[in-house]
C-alpha cells in the first residue's frame, strides 16, 4: 500500500508536469508555433472537463446503485454535440461576434446589456457550482483516504484544506497570468492545453482499469457479459421518468454550465473545430462510459459487502494487487478534479469580477472607466480574489456538509440549478420576442422553485424543517417541497426539474409577450437570432502575413505612411524580428489599437482592427461608440468651421478698412493739393504786389493804396479760406461743440437774410411766406444761421436772372422741418449737381468768389444737427432743400 507521502509526491509531480506542459505551450504560443495547440483535437479534449471527478468515480458508484441510468449523464451532451450545426455553432458564432466572456455576459448582452441579468446568472452559478466544487474536494480526500489506511478521518479536513489551497493557487497561476479583460487571451492556450492533457490522463486511466477488469479479471467480453447479467444489476430496472429527465438535464447543463461555456464558446478558436468535435466528443464520452458497468459489476462481485461503490475504480485494482494501476487511476481522478475546479473557478471568477466587482468598483470611483491602465490591474486582482473566494466557499461548504452521502447528490442538483438559464438562453437565441423582463422574471421564478423544491430540502441545510417537508409551510399541504400542487410520488429531481423549468419557461414567455423591449434590446435580439446573416463565416486561414499587410494598409490610411511604417518596425522590433512585418499577435494588435485610437478614437480603432483580424463583427455598442466619436469629431469640425468663417469675416472687414484708408489717404492727398493750390493764388498776388511796392521807387499814392488794398483783400481771402478749412476740419473730426438753444426759425432766417445781403449793390429779392417759418426749434442757432447765410449768399452770387429772386418756403413734415431755397436763375448744370457738396467744388471758375468750401461746411453742420442738405431737382433755377429736426438732441 502506497504511503500518504508517496501519494502527495505523485500529485506534486503530476502538477509539475502540468506546469511544464503549460510552459511549453506558452512558449509555442509566443513564437507562433501553436497551431496544433489550436487544433480540433485539443478543442475536443478540452470539452472533457464535463467529466469531473464526480463522473470519474461517481459513475461506477451510480451504476452499482441504479444500473445503466448513469449513462444518461453522457447521452444528453452527446445529443447536443451531434446537433452542433443547429445549436452550438450558433452559440459560438454569437460568442465570437459579440466578444462574449461568460454565460452571464451572453444573457446580459442578448437582453440589451442588462447588468441585472448578468448579476442574476452569476449569483445562480455561484450558488449552484460551489457545492459542486465541494464535491471535487470530497472525491480528492476520499481517494487519498483509500491509500492512507486508518487515519483518514483525522486527516480528512486537512487534506481538503490543502487540496483547496493548492487548486486555488493553481487556478490563479494558470488562469489570471496574462489577462486581457475582453479578449481571448494567450494564457488560456496554456490552460486549455493542460486541460487537454488531463483529459487524456483520465480517459486512459479509466480505460486501463476497464481493460484490466474485462480481460484481466473477468476473462474476456463474453464472460464479462455473463457476469453482468448474473449480477445484482443484471436486469433493466431504471426509473423511467428519471431516464428522460436526467438526459434532458445533462444536455441543458452541458450548454449552461459556466465552465462548459468557457471552453466550448469563449475559448473556441474556430467554429470549424465543431466538425471534428461533433463526433469526437461523443466518442470520448462513450469511451469514458464503456467500462463503467463492468467495473461496477466486478466491484460488487469481488469486494466485501458495504465497500463504497464510488471508489471501485481505485479499490478494484488495489484488491487485485495492482498498485501501479490503482495509482494511475488515482491520477485520473485527481486530474478530473483539478481541471474541473480550475476552469470552473476561472469561469466563475470572470463572471463575479466582470458583473459584480467591477461595476461596484467603478461606481464607487465615480469617474467612469476611461482610464484603462489601472483598471486592468484591478480586473486581475479582482479575479484572483474571486477565485480564492470561490475556493474558500467550496471548502466551507465541504466542511459544513460533513462530506457524507449528501454531497453525492449535489451533482444533479447543481445541474438542475444551472439549467434554469436554459429558457432565457434558448429563447434569446431563437426568439426575437424574448425580452429582458421576461428573462429576469423566468430566471427568478425558476431559481426560487429550484431552491425550494430541491436545493434546500436535499442538501440538508436545515433551513426547511421536517415539518415543512412533510406538511408544507403553514400547513398548506399543496406547497410541500416534494409534492408541489399535490402531485405526489415523483422522484425529487424529476419533480423539481419539471416544476421549475415549466414555471420558468411559462413566466418567461408570458412576460416576454406582454412587455416591449428597448431599442438596444431589440437590436441585440436581431443580432443574436439572425447571427448568420450578420456575421461572416470564418475565412480560410490566409496566413498572418496577409493580415499584417491589411493592417498596414489600414494604418496608412489613418496616419502618415512614414509614421505607420515606424510603428510597424517598432512592433517587429518588440517581437525580436527585423523588417516591418510583425506577427499579428494579440500584444501587437493591442499596441496598434492604442496607437490608432489616438487618431480615430478607441471604439473605431477596435472595430476596424476587429474587422480585419476577423475576430468579431461590429456590435451595436461598438457602433454607438463610433457614432459618439464621430459626433465629437463633427462638433469639433463645425467649431473649426465657425472659427474659419469668423476669420474670413474679419479678413473681409480688414480689407474694407484698408480700402477705406487708402481712399481716405488719396482724398487727403487730393485735398492737400487743392488746398495748396487755393492758398497759392492769393499768396502769389500778395507776393507780386508787395514786391511791386517794395521795388518800385516812385509809386503814386493812389497806386500804393490800390496795391495795399489788393494785398489786404487777398490776405482776408486767405484768412477766410483758412477759417473755413479750420471750421471744416473741426466739423469733420466731430470735435465741434454745438451750442444748443431754443429759438424761432423765423428770427434766425430774418437775421440770415439781413447778414447775407448786407453790403450788396444789387441785392437779390427774397420772397418768403409770412408766418410759415414761425416754428419753435431747439438747435445750434448760430450754426443754422451760418448755413442759411451761405445758401442765400450763393444765390446772390450765382443767380444770373435779370431781376434775381429767391423764394424760401418752409413746411413741417412730422418731426422734420423742410426749407426749400429756390431762385429764378439758370441753376446748376445737372452734371455738376452731384459735386456741389464736395470740398473746393465750384460751379464755374469765373465767379470764383469763395474757396468752394461753403456747401461742404453746410452739409457737415446740418449732419451734425441731425438734418441734411440736398440739391432739389426739377426746378429751373438753383434749388436747395434743407431738412432739420424739430429738436436736436445730441
Amino acid at each position: 500500500m502506497a504511503s500518504f507521502n508517496t501519494l502527495v509526491l505523485v500529485c506534486l509531480g503530476y502538477v509539475m508536469l502540468l506546469f511544464i506542459v503549460a510552459f511549453v505551450a506558452d512558449r509555442l504560443a509566443a513564437t507562433g508555433g501553436d497551431r496544433w495547440l489550436r487544433s480540433p483535437l485539443i478543442y475536443t479534449l478540452s470539452l472533457s472537463i464535463y467529466c469531473t471527478a464526480w463522473t470519474f468515480y461517481g459513475a461506477v458508484g451510480y451504476a452499482a446503485r441504479s444500473g445503466l441510468e448513469f449513462v444518461t449523464i453522457y447521452l444528453g451532451p452527446t445529443l447536443v454535440m451531434i446537433g452542433w450545426w443547429w445549436g452550438v455553432r450558433k452559440l459560438i458564432r454569437i460568442g465570437r461576434s459579440q466578444r462574449i466572456t461568460s454565460i452571464a455576459d451572453l444573457i446580459s448582452a442578448r437582453y440589451g446589456k442588462s447588468n441585472l441579468l448578468a448579476v442574476g446568472v452569476t449569483v445562480l452559478s455561484v450558488i449552484a457550482i460551489t457545492p459542486y466544487i465541494a464535491l471535487q474536494l470530497q472525491s480528492i480526500t476520499l481517494s487519498f483516504a483509500v491509500f492512507s489506511d486508518g487515519d483518514e478521518l483525522t486527516n480528512r479536513d486537512t487534506t481538503a484544506f490543502w487540496a483547496a489551497s493548492g487548486l486555488a493557487a493553481f487556478a490563479i497561476l494558470f488562469g489570471t497570468r496574462n489577462l486581457d479583460a475582453n479578449e481571448r487571451h494567450q494564457g488560456v492556450v496554456t490552460v486549455v492545453t493542460a486541460v487537454a492533457l488531463e483529459a487524456v490522463v483520465k480517459l486512459v486511466a479509466l480505460l486501463a482499469v476497464g481493460i484490466f477488469v474485462v480481460w484481466g479479471v473477468a476473462g474476456g467480453v463474453p464472460d464479462m457479459l455473463e457476469r453482468i447479467d448474473a449480477s445484482d444489476i443484471g436486469r433493466w430496472q431504471t426509473d423511467r421518468s428519471r431516464w428522460a429527465t436526467i438526459m434532458f438535464l445533462a444536455a441543458a447543463a452541458f450548454i449552461c454550465l459556466p465552465r462548459m461555456f468557457q471552453v466550448m464558446v469563449v475559448e473556441n478558436d474556430d467554429e470549424r473545430h465543431l466538425q471534428t468535435a461533433g463526433w469526437a466528443f461523443p466518442l470520448y464520452l462513450a469511451a469514458m462510459s464503456l467500462f463503467v458497468v463492468p467495473i461496477a459489476v466486478i466491484g460488487l462481485d469481488t469486494l466485501p459487502e458495504g465497500s463504497n461503490p464510488d471508489l471501485f475504480v481505485l479499490t478494484v485494482p488495489l484488491s487485485e494487487g495492482r498498485e501501479g494501476l490503482a495509482m494511475f487511476s488515482f491520477l485520473g481522478g485527481f486530474s478530473s478534479a483539478t481541471s474541473m475546479v480550475i476552469v470552473a473557478a476561472m469561469a466563475l471568477s470572470t463572471m463575479v469580477s466582470n458583473h459584480i466587482v467591477m461595476p461596484i468598483w467603478l461606481s464607487l470611483r465615480g469617474d467612469g472607466a476611461s482610464v484603462s491602465g489601472d483598471v486592468r490591474s484591478i480586473v486581475i486582482f479582482s479575479r484572483r480574489l474571486a477565485i480564492a473566494g470561490i475556493m474558500a466557499l467550496g471548502y466551507t461548504y465541504f466542511r459544513a456538509s460533513g462530506g457524507g452521502a449528501a454531497l453525492a447528490a449535489i451533482g444533479l442538483i447543481a445541474f438542475a440549478g444551472i439549467a434554469q438559464v436554459l429558457p432565457a438562453l434558448v429563447g434569446g437565441l431563437y426568439w426575437r420576442g424574448a425580452t429582458r423582463s421576461g428573462a429576469a422574471a423566468g430566471l427568478l421564478v425558476g431559481f426560487l422553485v429550484w431552491a425550494y423544491t430541491l436545493l434546500l430540502p436535499e442538501t440538508g441545510s436545515g433551513i426547511l424543517t421536517a415539518g415543512v417537508l412533510e406538511h408544507g409551510p403553514l400547513g398548506l399541504s399543496w406547497l410541500r417541497p416534494h409534492a408541489l400542487f399535490g402531485i405526489e410520488g415523483l422522484d425529487p429531481i424529476v419533480h423539481s426539474v419539471a416544476w421549475s423549468l415549466f414555471l420558468n419557461t411559462a413566466v418567461f414567455c408570458i412576460i416576454s409577450v406582454s412587455t416591449f423591449p428597448g431599442p438596444l434590446e431589440r437590436l441585440q435580439g436581431a443580432q443574436f437570432v439572425n447571427v448568420f446573416e450578420h456575421s461572416a463565416a470564418p475565412k480560410e486561414w490566409a496566413g498572418s502575413y496577409a493580415q499584417t499587410e491589411d493592417l498596414m494598409i489600414m494604418t496608412q490610411r489613418i496616419m502618415e505612411a512614414e509614421q505607420a511604417r515606424a510603428l510597424f518596425r517598432q512592433g517587429a522590433g518588440q517581437q525580436g524580428q527585423s523588417g516591418e512585418m510583425p506577427e499579428p499577435t494579440p500584444a501587437f494588435l493591442e499596441f496598434l489599437e492604442r496607437a490608432l485610437s489616438g487618431s480615430v478614437g478607441a471604439a473605431t480603432a477596435h472595430a476596424m482592427i476587429g474587422q480585419i483580424v476577423g475576430r468579431s463583427s461590429v456590435s451595436v455598442e461598438d457602433l454607438l461608440a463610433v457614432a459618439d466619436e464621430s459626433a465629437e469629431l463633427m462638433e469639433y469640425s463645425s467649431r473649426l468651421g465657425a472659427q474659419s468663417a469668423e476669420l474670413s469675416r474679419t479678413a473681409r472687414q480688414l480689407r474694407e478698412a484698408n480700402e477705406m484708408l487708402t481712399q481716405i489717404s488719396e482724398q487727403k492727398d487730393a485735398f492737400l493739393s487743392q488746398v495748396s493750390h487755393e492758398l497759392r493764388t492769393p499768396m502769389t498776388s500778395i507776393r507780386a504786389f508787395s514786391e511791386l511796392m517794395r521795388d518800385t521807387e516812385a509809386l503814386s499814392e493812389a497806386d500804393q493804396k490800390r496795391f495795399a488794398n489788393i494785398i489786404h483783400d487777398e490776405a482776408r481771402r486767405l484768412t477766410r479760406l483758412l477759417d473755413d478749412l479750420l471750421d471744416l476740419s473741426v466739423l469733420e473730426s466731430g470735435k465741434v461743440n454745438l451750442n444748443l438753444n431754443a429759438g424761432n426759425l423765423s428770427e434766425v432766417m430774418d437775421q440770415a437774410v439781413v447778414t447775407a445781403l448786407t453790403g450788396s449793390s444789387n441785392p437779390i429779392q427774397v420772397l418768403r411766406e409770412p408766418g410759415s417759418a414761425d416754428i419753435g426749434i431747439h438747435t445750434d442757432l448760430d450754426r443754422l444761421s451760418q448755413v442759411f447765410i451761405n445758401i442765400i449768399s450763393n444765390a446772390q452770387k450765382y443767380c444770373d436772372a435779370e431781376t434775381p429772386e429767391l423764394s424760401i418756403t418752409t413746411s413741417r413734415n412730422g418731426e422734420q422741418i423742410v426749407i426749400d431755397f429756390v431762385d429764378n436763375g439758370s441753376g446748376i448744370p445737372p452734371e455738376a449737381r452731384a459735386a456741389v457738396f464736395e470740398k473746393f467744388a465750384r460751379v464755374s471758375a469765373d465767379k470764383a468768389g469763395g474757396a468752394g468750401l461753403g456747401l461742404a461746411i453746410c452739409r457737415e453742420i446740418l449732419q451734425r444737427l441731425g438734418g441734411d442738405v440736398s440739391y432739389l431737382d426739377g426746378h429751373e433755377g438753383g434749388a436747395f432743400r434743407v431738412q432739420l429736426p424739430l429738436n436736436t438732441n445730441l
Binding site: I82, K90, R235, W236, G278, A286, F532
Partner: protein, 97 residues
C-alpha cells in the same frame, strides 16, 4: 442590414438544394437520436414484472443497445462533419435558411 432587396429564389440549383437537405439531416440526427435513446423507457422493468410473464431486458442487452445507438450517432455526426468540411462554409450559409 437591409441587404435583401430581392426575395431569395424559390428553387435552388442542385448543390444548394442538396446543402439544405443536409442541414435538415443535421437537424433530424439529434431528434432521432433522442427518440432512440428514450425507447428504453418503454422496456419492461424489473419492478413491473413481478409475475415474470414478461421478463425484464437483460443488462447486457441494454448495454449493447445503448452503445449501438451511440455508435450510430457518432458515425452519423462524423459523416456530416466530413460532408461540411468537403463543401466548406463559404458565402451561402445554409444554416441561416
Amino acid at each position: 442590414m437591409n441587404e435583401k432587396p430581392t426575395r431569395p429564389p424559390v428553387f435552388l440549383e442542385r448543390s444548394g438544394y442538396h446543402r439544405r437537405r443536409m442541414a435538415d439531416a443535421a437537424f433530424l440526427l439529434p431528434i432521432f437520436g433522442a427518440l432512440l435513446l428514450c425507447t428504453p423507457i418503454l422496456w419492461p422493468s424489473t419492478p413491473d414484472a413481478p409475475d415474470q410473464t414478461v421478463s425484464a431486458v437483460s443488462m447486457s442487452g441494454a448495454i449493447l443497445y445503448v452503445f449501438g445507438v451511440w455508435l450510430l450517432l457518432i458515425i452519423g455526426a462524423a459523416w456530416f462533419g466530413l460532408w461540411v468540411r468537403k463543401w466548406g462554409e463559404d458565402r451561402q450559409d445554409p444554416g441561416a435558411l
